[in-house]
Structure formats: C-alpha cells, structure tokens
C-alpha cells in the first residue's frame, strides 16, 4: 500500500516536474528571444536613441562672408558681439535665473519670448544651450561677469554681429540678415540653432549660400541630470565666401546726396523761420539731423524719392544704384524696435522698396528712342520724314495733346527727339503699330527680368494686342497705341530696365544685361541685331537733346570740351488732365499736392563721343525731367569724369 502510493506520488512529481521544466524553458526562451530582438534586430534603433541620450548635437555658425564694393570697400562685415547663453537642463529654475539677470541688464521682450519658446520647443531633450540674447554690450558683459557666480548656468559666448558700415547708402542692395526661421530655408537646422542668421533681402539673400559658409558641428556629452561632461567639435566651420560687387561706394555716396537734394536747397533747422515751418509739418526727414531741404517756393520738403542707376555699357556692371528713401540695414542687426519697424513699414514713401529694381514707372518720353528705332528698323520712315505738330492730334472723338501747347510746327525725327515732340510720335506710333513697337522695346530690354543678383524685381509691362486681349479680353484701341508711343498708358518700366535700354543703345552692338558683381559678364552678351546706322542716328539725336539749341536738356550740359553727355528727358503725367482743366489753364506742377505732381525722368549716357556709362534718374513727383532729373544726371557724370 505504502509502496504503491509512493510510486504514485513519484509519478505525479515526475509529471509535475516535467511540466514545470517546460514552463521554465519557455520563460528562459522568451527572455533569450527578447534579448535577441533588442540587441540584434533592433540594435540600430536603440543605438541611435542611446546616442541621442549621450550627446547633444549643436551646429556652430560659420563666419559670414563679407560684401565688398569694386574697390574692396566694406559694404557688409562682421563685428564681435557678446551673447548670453543658458546651459539649460530640466532641473534649472529658469525664472529665477532670468530674474537675477534682469536685475543687472536689460533684455528685450522679443529675445525673452524667443528664449522661452526655445525651452518649450523640444521636450525630449533634457539639457541644451539656449540663447538668451546676443545683443550684450561690453558694459553689460562686465556687469554680468562680476556677478556671474550667482548664476553659474549662464555662459558668455563671443558671436559675430552683422554690420553695414555704409549704413543707409546701399541698404537696398546689400539687404540685411535676420534670425533663421523654418520657413526661410530648405536647410534643416536643429532647433537649438535658432539664433543663426540668414539673408532676408538683397545680396544677403541672393548669395546666402555662398556667404553663409559651412556649419560646424559640436557635440556635448551630457549626463541624465544635464551636466555637460565633455564637449567636442567634430566638424569645423568653414567661413563664407566674400562677394565683390561692382558698386563704387564713392560714387554711390555722392549720388545719394545729390539725388536727395534734387533742385532744392539745404537749410539749417536751427533757423527760426525753418523751425516754425517744421512744427507745422509732420514726417519731415532731416538731413544729417541738422538740415532740411527747402524748395524754390521756400517750403520745407522731404529729400527726393526715386531711383538713380549708373551702369557700365560694356559689361553691364552697375556701379551706382540709389533708391531713395533708403533704410539702414544695421537696424535689423540690432534689436529692431517696433516703432522703427512700423515707421519703415507705414512710411508713405516706402523706404523698404528697392525702386531701382522693384519700382515701376511709366517711362514717358524716355521711350521715344525705342519707338523711333522700331519705325526705322521696319522701314516705315527715313531720317528725313517730317510730320506737322500743331499742339494736338485728333483721333476719333478724343484729342491727344503735345506737351507744347502751341505745337512744334513741321519737324523731322531728330528734331522730334531733341524737342520731345509728342505729336510726331503719335504719328509714328500709328504708322508702326503697337506690336512692332513692343518687339523693339523688348529687344532693348524692357518688360523682362534679368539675371541681376537681387531676388525681388519687377518685370514691368510692355503691352501689345495679345497682352491686352489676354488680360482684359478687350481689343487694342488706337488711342492706346498713341499713349504707349509717348511712354504712358499701360507701359511700365523699372529704372533698371531703362538703364539697360540706354546701355544697349549706347553700346549699339550687344544686348547688355545688368549685374551687381565684378567681372561677371565677360563677352557673353547676345548681339543686339539693330542696324548700326539707325543706332548712330538715334545717338546723334540724343546728343542734340543736350547740345541742340532746342534740346530739352540744353541747360544742363556738362560743358567740358572733352566730355559731354547725351540723353533724353521724360516727364510723366501721374494724373489724367481733363479737357475742362486744360481749358482753365493748367495748374503749375509745383503747386499741386506732391502725390499729383509729375515724375521727372532722365536717361542718358556719357561721354557722348565714346560712351562708357549709362544713367537713369527717376525723381518721383519731381516735376519736369529737364529741370529736375537732367541736372542730377549731369552732376553725377561730372563727378564720375571729374570735370
């Protein structure tokens, strides 16, 4: 009995023993498989996670390349600045640290907001360096350094700050840099690179990749508590390339001053009379803080706004490019204050607009060379074809006036250009037709973008029959051809396009295109394909504009035996003048409100005998092209040729 039960028990125990062994085998097998899975199959994933634990990766900003003028003068460079950086980890009481710092130095709200955003940005990181501000002055640094023992988590860093030593003179060309934001670039930067700067406008934007250089990389080994154990730069930075522009800062500086003055005079604001006047007015811009401009009627006025471009007709290098009013790009490198920004943004004269490339204006009479060339090239007229001008041209029910109320009488092409007779060009326009005029304008460079090194530019408008049909679904009317023939109506050009047009005429052989870089366009222009004889004839008539007895710019000759300029004036009506107004007698330009005054234009080149530079002057609401724009052009040429 006992034996039997014992046997039975042993049997049971053996069975149970077996079952439990299987259980153990399964459990150990499961554990083994788990380790195989973690360590062999998913190894890569966990290696990456472990690296992310172990290291914090940072990018180090390289030194940004400089922007130089043609004589290596600095347009944009870097200055040493001091940044304040918090070695943040999740155990730090941030508010406390910031409070302590704020007791010693001021930090702008914008910086603080960015700082707090940065802390919140990536919750999986336990420790990182976060920028508090990069706008510390030397004074702030020493103040903080004395008490740095109170906040050991805070570090000073030497950083580079972008500076523009030329200030307001070339702001539109250099552009400015601003903090990187994700939408700005396709380059993926880690969140802790938020204080890196990228070009926002102008050359800074266009050449951002060249200027920026190559980022270095650094990694910090961090403990779980966020203490940095070791720090290693494992990829060095490569500084950005310098960019040499074709601008001549000496000329640019002169041109800005000369352009802003226009035909006004400078008066001191300390004069009592002037003081009283200033008090009445709002938004008057001072010149050098002590002076204002006064026009011929003794009114205090703002500096002229508009554009001035000087370009080499051989290689297309832009040596001077003024857009007025300008802005100082340094304000973006410093802490951009909201009222300064609002002032810029809401200023009725739009200082942020680069008028030379983005501003569009009706070209007015400056287009007449293109119309004449279209007529000549198509064999519609010859050099002696004459039309009669009695001051107006009737077309159907409407009348198209010439600027000379009493007319010019009978005159040929060269005289028509010299005196800028509108009726002559109405006749030409009717004969040639808009499509052929448009073709010639395009051949001369209007209505197109160039590869100039600025991102923001306008195309302008060169209308033709198809263009109007496409835009409005309407037939082209003859009246519109008349308007286009004198550079009004739909026709719109940028100052840069006008300069290009003049450069091509002055060059006569190649389709010059503009560039802002040195030595960019060497022998790679297409042929212009216009009869050189016709070009020569047009150039002669442009010389007559300045030198002829009836030339519209005859009062503004350079006056040197060796060097004279040639050109064409233009006065662009901004407001339509009704017949009734015309009957009453026109209000003089300078008596109208500023916004309703005519634009003054001058395009030209010099020296007339052996052209070298083309120029365009557009003075917004400046009055007549001959009295306002031409003298500016003359003075600039005088400065260039030192006569």
């Amino acid at each position: 009995m006992k034996n039997k039960s014992q046997k039975y028990l042993e049997n049971v125990i053996s069975k149970r023993f077996f079952l439990l062994s299987i259980l153990k085998g399964v459990v150990v097998g499961a554990i083994g498989w788990r380790f195989f899975d973690l360590q062999m199959i998913e190894n890569r994933k966990y290696e990456k996670l472990s690296d992310e634990n172990q290291f914090n990766f940072y990018m180090i900003a390289p030194e940004r390349g400089r922007i130089l003028d043609r004589k290596m003068r600095l347009l944009a460079g870097n200055m040493d600045g001091f940044s304040l950086v918090l070695k943040w980890n999740k155990n730090i009481n941030v508010d406390n640290v910031i409070k302590k710092i704020l007791k010693i130095v001021n930090i702008s709200k914008k910086d603080l907001n960015n700082f707090y955003d940065e802390i919140k940005s990536d919750k999986k990181v336990f420790a990182k360096e976060i920028l508090i501000t990069k706008k510390l002055s030397q004074k702030d640094v020493s103040k903080l350094a004395v008490r740095s023992i109170e906040f050991p988590e805070v570090n000073f860093l030497m950083t580079k700050k972008r500076v523009y030593p030329q200030g307001i003179l070339v702001g539109h060309i250099t552009g400015y840099v601003g903090p990187y934001s994700k939408k700005d670039t396709k380059i993926k930067l880690k969140s802790n690179t938020a204080w890196f700067e990228i070009g926002k406008t102008g050359l800074e934007k266009y050449f951002d990749n060249d200027l920026r250089g190559t980022f270095g990389r650094k990694r910090d080994e961090v403990t779980s508590k966020g203490h940095i154990v070791a720090s290693q730069v494992y990829e060095n930075t490569i500084s950005g390339n310098d960019i040499q522009t074709s601008l001549d800062m000496e000329l640019q500086a002169f041109a800005v001053e000369r352009f802003e003055k226009g035909s006004n005079t400078l008066v001191s604001i300390h004069d009592d009379n002037v003081k009283k006047q200033i008090e009445k007015l709002k938004n008057i811009s001072y010149v050098n803080q002590d002076y204002v401009y006064k026009d011929k009627k003794n009114r205090i006025v703002n500096p002229q706004s508009g554009s001035l471009i000087v370009m080499d007709i051989e290689n297309g290098e832009v040596i001077c490019c003024v857009s007025s009013p300008g802005y100082d790009p340094n304000i973006f490198s410093n802490d951009l204050e909201i009222d300064v920004w609002n002032n810029l943004k809401n200023n009725s004269r739009a200082p942020l607009l680069n008028r030379s490339m983005s501003g569009v204006y009706p070209p007015g009479s400056t287009i007449k060379m293109a119309v004449a060339l279209a007529a000549l090239e198509n064999g519609i007229i010859d050099y002696n074809t004459k039309f009669y001008c009695d001051g107006a041209k009737k077309l159907g029910e409407s009348t198209f006036h010439c600027w000379a109320k009493d007319g010019h009488g009978k005159l040929n092409l060269i005289e028509a250009i010299e005196q800028s007779c509108d009726v002559y060009f109405y006749e030409l326009g009717l004969k040639v037709g808009i499509d052929k005029i448009a073709l010639m304008m395009k051949r001369l460079g209007l209505g197109q973008y160039y590869n100039i090194e600025i991102n923001d530019k306008s195309k302008g408008v060169v209308p033709n029959i198809e263009w109007k049909l496409k835009r409005d679904g309407l037939q082209w009317s003859m009246g519109e051809t008349l308007n286009a023939s004198i550079g009004q109506g739909y026709l719109l050009t940028t100052p840069l396009q006008l300069t290009t047009m003049i450069a091509r005429i002055a060059n006569g052989k190649f389709s010059v295109t503009p560039t802002l870089l040195m030595n960019q366009n060497k022998n790679k222009f297409e042929a212009l394909k216009i009869n050189p004889q016709h070009i020569g004839f047009i150039k002669k008539s442009m010389e007559r504009v300045v030198k002829g007895n009836n030339g519209t710019a005859r009062n503004y000759q350079i006056g040197s035996k060796k060097i004279e300029m040639a050109g064409k004036t233009g006065t662009v009506q901004v407001v339509r003048i009704s017949e009734a107004e015309r009957e009453k007698g026109l209000i003089k330009n300078e008596d109208r409100p500023w916004k309703k005054r005519d634009h003054a234009l001058f395009v030209g080149y010099a020296p007339a005998s052996k052209p070298k530079y083309a120029i365009t002057v557009v003075v917004e609401h400046g009055g007549s092209g001959s009295s306002v724009a031409a003298p500016i052009a003359r003075d600039v040429f005088k400065y260039i040729f030192k006569v």
Binding site: S5, V28, Q39, Y46, T223
Partner: protein, 375 residues
C-alpha cells in the same frame, strides 16, 4: 548494524571531510562563484570603475557567503529539517517587526548592529523549508485530500500578504508564486489549481484597490511605457535603450554610456543586468543567463535524484526560487514584466539576497552530499 557502526568509527574526521569535499557539486559551486564575480565586476563598472562603494562590499560578502555555504554544505541535512519551523516563525516575527521598526522609506529593512537585513528575502527560504517539512511529515496518502493543503496555503499567504503590505508587491508575489509552485510540485489536484486561478482572477480588482499609487503606476506604465517617458516609464525606456544599444558585442566593459552618464536608474541593484547587457552585449547577456540555467538545472537535477520528500521539495523549491529571481529580474529590465523590484541574485548589490541565495545553495549542497548516504 555492527558493520555500520564499525565503518563509522573507522572514519576519522579528516577522511570524512575529504569524502564530503569530493562529493561537492562542482557545477553549482563554479557557477555561483562565477556569477558572484560577474557581480563584483559589474558593480565596479557601475561605480564608474571604482571599487567604492559597491564592488568591494560585494566581494567581501561573496567570500563570507561562500564560506557560510560550505559550512552548511558539510552539515547533515536533517538539521535543516529541524530548523525549518523555528526559522519560519522567526521569519514571520521579523516580518511583523519590520512593520514597526522598519527602516527605509518603504518598511522593508531591519537594522541590526548597523547591518540592514531584509526579512522578506530570508522568508522565501524559510517558506521552502516549512513546506518541505510539512509535506515530508504528513502521510503520503493524505496528499490526495484537499484539506491537507489548508495549512500550507495559510503558510504561503501569511508571509505573502505581510510582504505585500510592506509594501513590496514584487517580493510578496514571488513568495506566493514560489509556495504555489511547491504545492503544484507535490501534486495538488488540478481542480484545486483551477479554483485558485478563478479566485485570484476575481480578486484582482480588490488587490488593485489595495495597491499604492506608485504600484498602479508601474503596472500601467509597463503596459505602455511611453505614457510617462520622463516619469515612471523612464526606467524601462532607458533600460531598453541601454540593452538594445549594446548590440552583439556590447559597448565594452566600463564603456556603457547609458550607465556612465546616469541614464540607468538603479544600475547597481535591480537594473544591473541592463548595465551588463549594454557593456557586454548579447554575447555577455546570454552567457550569464546560460550560467544561471546551468546553476538552476544542476540544483533541480539533485531534486530528481534524492530520496526523501523533504530533500526533493527543498531542492526543487530552491531551484525554482532561483528561476523566479532570474526571470522576474531579467523579464523586468527588458520590459517583459512590470517593474516590480526584484534583485538579480549574486549580481545585484544587496547583502540579504546574496546571502539568502548562498545559504540556500549551502542547503542544496548539503542535501546533495548527505541524502545519498541515508536512503
């Protein structure tokens, strides 16, 4: 009878010692020493390449423990039968005592003369002994009867609940599972087991309510560690990263970045195996698991061979206890089980579990030597 007596008197103490020494189970001792040394090496690494504060202590305890083990091995195993009741009673008393004078933020330790002692660890061994004694004592026919199991169940659940209420869910459950495994081993009827399961399943909500918040957290986080990647889930996520990043050969001894930079929690106690996996890789982890398997198999093999039920149950229980330690700890660090707080025997830093395992091994060795002699 005479023959026996004569033979006994002929043997000198010396020859007896050497005959016993020769019978010592080589596998068990070697694997114990190996694992202990792995522990010392790992603790040296856990301290960043320092003997202080853990490795030296561990080594001293290891040497002392192995001495103690050998002494126990040479004692006749009947002594453990006789000591079983008193050790169980002492165990229960100290578990009650720890409620009142316990140290540590959760009351698990009793401090005696500067040495922290964790009664719940020793309780596991005491439970094995008392159960073995009980089943050895009762008539074998009674094993078929259900009422035979009432006392053992009481003996299991009394310390079990005392430990859970400390609160130490992991150790408490280990005690209960260990006890139930022994009941299963001696042949409790399947019906009863199923009944137990139903009871257990129905009491889960009750137990859940009894749990402390941090215990609930651990279980919830186990089910989905990402719900709290910086809080309770942090341990298990970091542990998995450490293991996974080790790869096949590991990052190299002393070179585990996760442990060196303190991303590993409890890297010297419950999570020490993570450190080993990170530094020694799949190869190292599997080797150590293998050594454990050799140890456990060697112990359980003894239970297969010995004749008395007491010896059978004790060796089986101790083997199973080691298995539980191993699977709970490693299952926990690799995310297969919730974080319950179970040390890895012989490797984790902690005197009580080390000594418990070595004493248990001493008992096993003693049974291995002596149970063969007396049939």
């Amino acid at each position: 009878m005479n023959y026996k007596l004569n033979k006994f008197s002929e043997e000198t103490f010396g020859s007896l010692f050497f005959s016993k020494l020769s019978k010592l189970n080589f596998f068990i001792i070697t694997s114990l020493i190996l694992l202990g040394l792995v522990g010392v090496a790992s603790l040296y690494s856990a301290a960043g390449g320092n003997w202080d504060p853990w490795a030296n202590n561990h080594l001293i305890r290891l040497i002392f423990g192995i001495f103690l083990m050998l002494i126990l091995a040479f004692l006749p195993h009947k002594i453990f039968l006789k000591l079983s009741v008193i050790s169980f009673i002492i165990g229960i008393l100290s578990l009650i005592l720890v409620k009142f004078i316990g140290t540590g933020n959760v009351q698990r330790w009793i401090t005696i003369g500067g040495i922290n002692f964790q009664p719940s660890e020793a309780m596991k061994l005491a439970l094995i002994l008392i159960l073995a004694r009980y089943f050895d004592h009762i008539s074998r026919i009674e094993l078929d009867k259900l009422k035979t199991y009432f006392l053992p169940i009481f003996l299991i659940f009394l310390p079990g609940f005392l430990v859970i209420s400390q609160p130490d869910l992991g150790t408490g459950l280990t005690i209960i599972v260990l006890g139930l495994a022994i009941l299963f081993f001696v042949g409790i009827s399947m019906k009863f087991i199923i009944l137990c399961f139903i009871l257990l399943a129905s009491s889960i909500p009750l137990i859940w309510n009894q749990l402390y918040d941090y215990q609930k957290d651990r279980i919830l986080v186990f089910l989905n560690p990402e719900i709290d990647s910086l809080g309770s889930g942090y341990q298990i996520i970091q542990s998995k990263i450490a293991i996974g990043s080790g790869g096949f050969f590991g990052k190299g001894y002393l070179l585990g970045s996760q442990s060196r930079l303190n991303y590993l929690p409890e890297k010297h106690t419950d999570f020490i195996f993570t450190l080993i996996s990170e530094e020694l890789g799949f190869l190292g982890s599997i080797s150590i698991i293998l050594i454990f398997c050799i140890l456990i198999t060697s112990i359980i093999k003894i239970s297969f061979r010995v004749k008395s039920l007491f010896s059978k149950i004790v060796t089986f229980g101790i083997g199973f206890l080691l298995f539980l330690y191993l699977s709970l700890n490693i299952g926990m660090v690799c995310g297969l089980l919730p974080v319950v707080g179970a040390p890895l025997p012989l490797i984790s830093y902690g005197g009580t579990s080390l000594l418990t395992v070595l004493i248990a091994s001493g008992i096993v060795l003693s049974i291995d030597i002596h149970d063969k002699e007396i049939v």
